[in-house]
């Protein structure tokens, strides 16, 4: 069995009096593709925020595999977690809007950069060399995602679907081990969603990373996920393969209300 790369232990968070995430235990293994579903307000995004370090849990812990063993990262801030190999996209798109598509990707490479600021200040040959190298890498990423044509567009000028896609490219540019996708298909039409479905599968294959995905589009989730967690009221309601979940009475009820 593949190594467990991410694990939570009774993870909980309270906002005011409301327990948004309640005693959640999930785990993800290397190169696994996990779907996280549940009705609106079930706590999915909050769980993402706990895993990526945006929120501090009220209780429980988050552990990440650091190459040798699972390590508690409760007190590791988001940027350090990113350096440990966690990348994400956001439900409400968060691009660097004043930057071009290419620059968005280049910024994601900040922590891997070897270029010294001093080199940039004096525009040494080293600066140009390093910049060219980074740019080549970024462009090749954009190539994979078919975004070369818009590389010099401002991120804010892209259509919605493309913006979502750029967020994924940007996240991948950090060379993550785990990629969190928060509703990547939101706002996409069925054709776009179909393309995205293939893309997610391809990412998993090409980059050999673990992907955890929140999504409402059942076609997509069912098509790509190897395993699903269903959240309701901040609790894990069910877990299993897509076909298990589709048969699960409780899930159908939670999702479609009563009948289904």
């Amino acid at each position: 069995m593949a190594t467990t790369i991410l694990k939570t232990n009774n993870l909980s968070i309270k906002f005011g009096g409301v327990t948004a995430v309640d005693q959640v235990n999930i785990e993800a293994r290397e190169n696994e593709l996990i779907g996280l579903i549940g009705p609106n307000g079930a706590g999915k995004t909050t769980l993402f925020n706990l895993l990526t370090g945006v929120y501090q849990p009220t209780d429980g812990e988050v552990s990440i595999y650091d190459g040798t063993h699972l390590k508690n990262v409760n007190h590791v801030p988001p940027h350090r977690r990113a350096q440990l190999g966690i990348a994400r996209t956001f439900q409400n798109i968060r691009l660097f809007e004043s930057r071009t598509v290419l620059e968005n990707v280049l910024i994601a490479m900040t922590t891997q950069s070897k270029a010294r600021t001093a080199q940039a200040l004096f525009r040494t040959p080293g600066f140009y060399k390093e910049t060219a190298k980074k740019r080549a890498r970024a462009l090749s990423l954009l190539q994979i995602f078919d975004m070369i044509a818009v590389a010099d567009e401002l991120a804010s000028n892209l259509p919605y679907g493309q913006q979502r896609r750029l967020e994924i490219v940007r996240a991948l540019a950090t060379q993550p081990k785990i990629l969190f996708l928060d509703e990547p298909a939101a706002g996409m039409n069925p054709q776009e969603t179909q393309v995205l479905t293939d893309l997610i599968k391809q990412i998993q294959k090409t980059f050999k990373i673990t992907i955890i995905l929140i999504e409402h589009d059942m076609n997509l989730v069912m098509a790509v996920s190897e395993r699903l967690y269903v959240l309701e009221y901040g609790k894990v309601l069910a877990t299993g393969t897509p076909s298990d979940i589709q048969q699960n009475k409780a899930v159908i009820k939670a999702y479609l209300g009563e009948e289904g």
């Binding site: 939101a186 039409n189 589709q246």
Partner: protein
């Protein structure tokens, strides 16, 4: 043939460079429940926001009771009877339930009408009556949604625009909310509702429109759409 109470023709709305709504036309007849369904970001909310004046259309015409409302201010639209319950409820958190309701009746000058409206709302939502001195922030999601709807009813609406009323609610509340929507219609108020919970919405709707990427791709009665395989596949999962 009845004259539509709300008519939208060739409406297009942009957010910067993004074309959020393209050439959308539809109408709502008096006393109907009409639903717009579609994926997140399909442009449903934008349509409602444009009808209530929060967004400016690029092209197209909107008319309410045969009068164009394109250039009417938002306040005027409210006082003429178009009331919008926004996505995410947007109750005023630091104010009490009663104050929220009072704000709902902001455009109603007649104090006697206020009293009638209070009674109606409290009758329909007894829980709001018991909590009337509580801050809105302390209400649960479902209660907040009721408050948002109650607040809209205070304005004496002719048509009520509901944006995702079931969002984030427990099934029990969802059921309640849809029952309330029907009740509202039964009192003679026309309803235009956006839902992701397409299943429920179509069940109570007289008619529905399916929106995708800012365009209407299908229309029909609630039952027709509900039985359409295509719609089922897209919005109700495999």
């Amino acid at each position: 043939m009845v004259e539509a109470v709300l008519r939208v023709e060739n409406l297009s709305v942009n957010y910067g460079a993004i074309k959020a709504v393209q050439n959308v036309s539809f109408s709502v007849n008096p006393g109907e429940i009409v639903t717009l369904i579609g994926a997140n970001g399909a442009g449903k909310s934008t349509i409602l926001r444009t009808i209530s004046g929060l967004e400016k259309p690029v092209t197209g015409n909107m008319s309410f009771e045969k009068q164009s409302i394109n250039h009417m201010s938002s306040e005027k639209r409210v006082s003429s009877g178009i009331v919008h319950v926004p996505e995410g409820r947007r109750v005023f958190p630091g104010m009490t339930v009663q104050e929220n309701l009072q704000l709902g009746a902001f455009t109603v000058a007649n104090k006697n009408q206020h009293k009638v409206a209070y009674n109606n709302v409290y009758e329909q939502f007894p829980i709001l009556k018991t909590r009337r001195h509580q801050d809105a922030a302390t209400l649960s999601g479902g209660e907040q949604q009721m408050l948002a709807i109650g607040r809209a009813l205070m304005a004496n609406p002719k048509i009520i625009l509901l944006d995702e009323p079931s969002m984030g609610l427990a099934p029990l509340y969802i059921k309640k909310i849809f029952a309330i929507i029907q009740q509202i219609r039964d009192t003679g108020v026309t309803v235009l509702v956006i839902e992701q919970n397409a299943n429920q919405a179509l069940k109570i709707a007289d008619r529905g429109y399916v929106i995708e990427s800012g365009q209407i791709i299908a229309t029909g009665t609630g039952a027709e759409l509900l039985s359409s395989d295509e719609v089922r596949a897209s919005y109700l999962g495999g």
